[in-house]
């Protein structure tokens, strides 16, 4: 087994394990957020293995740096108690949903090897670097890029309006 493949298996196991601990941790929301950080950083490592260097850096900066910090801030701000979450309703429907999701994922994993080609394309020069991705972003994908700026502006205004105590 090559070094890259063993690194991939290590980070994949880390990502799946911390994602499971995020979902299954019923008591501590901050611990869930910390598990989410481990998942994000492992995924950034997998991005590096897939030669997506710019995306890996942005993954750590935006997800690990900004989004999870936002989660932790809100959890601390709300000061949740442990007894807020008694056993919920519709347990049968939820169990059915979990069984369906597990079945769908297993089916997908069984179908995948036949559906994908064995060979990958040759790696172009500068693949995944800031120069190539930036050129694509500002030429062919300029319309989605500008639409994103509009989305960010409306999200900014929306967040301020929502978090304000009373609108004047």
């Amino acid at each position: 087994m090559s070094a890259e493949l063993s690194l991939f298996y290590f980070f994949a196991a880390l990502a799946v394990g911390s994602a499971l601990s995020m979902v299954l941790n019923l008591r501590n929301t901050v611990a869930s957020a910390m598990s989410l950080v481990i998942t994000m950083v492992s995924l950034a490592a997998v991005y590096v293995l897939m030669e997506a260097h710019l995306v890996a850096v942005l993954q750590i900066m935006v997800y690990g740096g900004a989004i999870v910090v936002l989660f932790v801030f809100v959890v601390m701000l709300l000061n949740l108690r442990q007894d807020d979450f008694p056993p919920g309703r519709q347990r049968g429907a939820k169990a059915l949903g979990v069984v369906l999701v597990v079945f769908a994922v297993i089916k997908l994993l069984a179908l995948l090897p036949a559906a994908l080609p064995d060979t990958v394309a040759a790696l172009p020069e500068g693949f995944g670097g800031y120069r190539d991705v930036g050129t694509a972003l500002f030429t062919r994908f300029i319309l989605p890029f500008e639409a994103t700026s509009l989305l960010l502006l409306s999200a900014l205004v929306g967040a301020v309006v929502l978090a304000k105590r009373r609108l004047d």
């Binding site: 890259e4 990502a15 994602a19 897939m50 309703r89 997908l108 995948l112 994908f141 929306g158 105590r165």
Partner: protein, 101 residues
């Protein structure tokens, strides 16, 4: 030796499944938002894997846009959570079913 693409896409499918399960079974709305982030990350991983498979940068551009959408979604979602907690003193989704028939 290269990493087989189907392994990366399988990891993406497993993470997406975990995210769906989390959004289904958890009742804390903050953990539900985290599960949605996990699903978006799984999609990003699939984009990166397919970009590597085709040898083009287009998938990376889409990942950047998905990351932006995720950040905006978290900002608005947590704003809603804060104002919800202020008005109802709960983050349990079972207690906030006013719009459900």
């Amino acid at each position: 030796m290269e990493i087989p693409i189907e392994l990366v896409v399988s990891l993406s499918a497993i993470l997406f499944g975990i995210g769906v399960v989390g959004a289904l079974v958890r009742r804390n709305i903050i953990v539900i938002l985290m599960s949605i982030e996990l699903m978006l990350n799984a999609v990003n991983l699939a984009f990166v894997a397919f970009a590597r498979m085709h040898g083009t940068n287009d998938g990376h551009v889409f990942v950047l846009i998905v990351i932006t959408v995720a950040a905006a979604e978290v900002a608005v979602g947590l704003g809603i959570v804060i104002s919800l907690f202020r008005n109802r003193d709960t983050t349990n989704v079972d207690d906030v079913s006013l719009l459900k028939w």
